[in-house]
Amino acid sequence: MTTPIDRGGSWHPLVELALARLREFAREPEAIFWAFIFPILMSVALAIAFPGGGSKPAIVGIEPGDDANGIHEALEHAPGVTVRDLAPGTEARALREGEVHLLVVPTSPPTYRFDPAREESRVARLLVDDALKHAAGRPDPWSAREDPVQVPGSRYVDWLIPGIVGLNIMGTSMWGIGFSIVQARMRKLLKRLVASPMHKREYLLAQVGGRLILLAPEAGVPLLFGVFVLGLPIRGSLMTTSIVCLVGALAFGGVGLLLASRARTFEAISGLMNMTMVPMWVLSGVFFSSSNFPQAVQPLIQALPLTALIDALRAVVLDGVGLAAVSRELAVLAGWGLGGFALALRIFRWT
């Protein structure tokens, strides 16, 4: 045992380094925006795109013709149908661009012009056909009693939110770590730090650790917004959800360190970040299920950290599973985190 260490009132270097990282972050207004405001805006956009309750009406246009007025009248009060008045000559374009889901041509009997590949157009066809036949005097043999049920957790938006949370954890971890390291390198601050008795390992650990404190708001804001505004059910335990987010942040911290380990300019790090993240935006099932991709590439997709994080989050949040059920995903994430950290420490450019 040597003489006790006297740090002159400072904390352990790991703490001081993480504090420095946090302070710099908190004093950077843009960083606050990306970490907190952006996920809120994204969630608000989702709320507008997927309003809770009710279904979207079928939007129908009517081509000009002798019987156009009669059809207009018949559809105007039909349930679930909205008639949109179109300027003459613009009907074909409106259909093509999805402004209307179906065009009624007032022939006798009427012609429905629509794209059967589009689900909302097929729905519009059924609703319009029913309304017009009813108006033409078709008797209803009976009318069914309806019992509308909304199953929380089964809507698209419920599926989407864990994806957004994963995306946010990835983006903020990687950009936050990448830019701050490259900036310190450009300012020769890294060189100054290694000229002091600082341990390199502790610097890298602090970069990742400093970010973890920000994880609570970064993952929490979109999740809470989902719960309170969009009615997202969180079926798994809060602890399990937090652990998944934490392991996810560690994984992307490791990847972020690795990407930033050699880059000397913002251009270089931006390129590396985009090259890494954009494929995951597409492949990892944020907006649509990754099972849409061919079987041959599935092993690759399953090995991506974002896929692992989002799959684990969906399993915990929507299906309420425990940690054991997502152990494969957690192992993938831990692998990325530890592997990235170890490799970054070896190849890191300090001077």
Binding site: T3, I5, D6, R7, G8, G9, S10, W11, H12, P13, V15, E16, L17, L19, A20, R23, E24, R27, E28, A184, R187, K188, L189, K191, R192, V194, A195, S196, P197, M198, T351
Partner: protein, 251 residues
Amino acid sequence: MTGIMTGVMCSNLIKRYGDVVAVDRLSFEVARGECFGLLGPNGAGKTTTIEILEGLLEPDAGDVQILGLTWRGHDGELRQRIGVQLQETQLADKLTVEETLRLFRSFYHRGRTIDELLRLVELESKRRSWVGRLSGGQRQRLAVACALAGEPDLLFLDEPTTGLDPQSRRQLWHLLAEFRSQGGTILLTTHYMDEAETLCDRVAIVDHGRVIAEGSPRELIATLGAPRVVTHQGTLEDVFVALTGRHLREE
């Protein structure tokens, strides 16, 4: 002069960047308690040399001993015992003076308190200011305070007063004199003659990566012979001109 009394020793240092030889068989020694200056124009190899001595660059050939120790195998110990100010470092703009010092102080196992450091470099009133809002002179004093945080035995300074106004330079010189008076050893680079004459016990004049003259400022000036003009006191600038036929600021 080896072992315990040696501050810095380097012999036959060579460093090449591609075809360019930045440091060319450079050798000198600095005794403990001495202030030694590497003097020369920009591009003479001063920064490369001092960064090799600081253990930040690996020389292509040659030996280095710092406080009697080699870098290999003693990195951790030496880093605790030296203080470093680099030429181009910009400390984090959005940390305060106090936070910056706390950070650097945390790396050292012993040393001064933050209050002592602030007093030493006369930045007490700037304690809570962001580094980005400091003047050039204040920033440089903060850089020196970071270098002094671990109460080093040996201080490396790379062009410590370049770009500073006369008053800031004098303030810094005063600070370094105080460090010396407590037995500290200094190795600095400069291209200011008056700085070398004021601070250094001995200087090595470096040009094209080699030491072309070495001695105390007075000795070197004496080599010029009697001043040619009565009102003109000989300076190190004259020594440099006499040795190379060029002025120090010429590129």
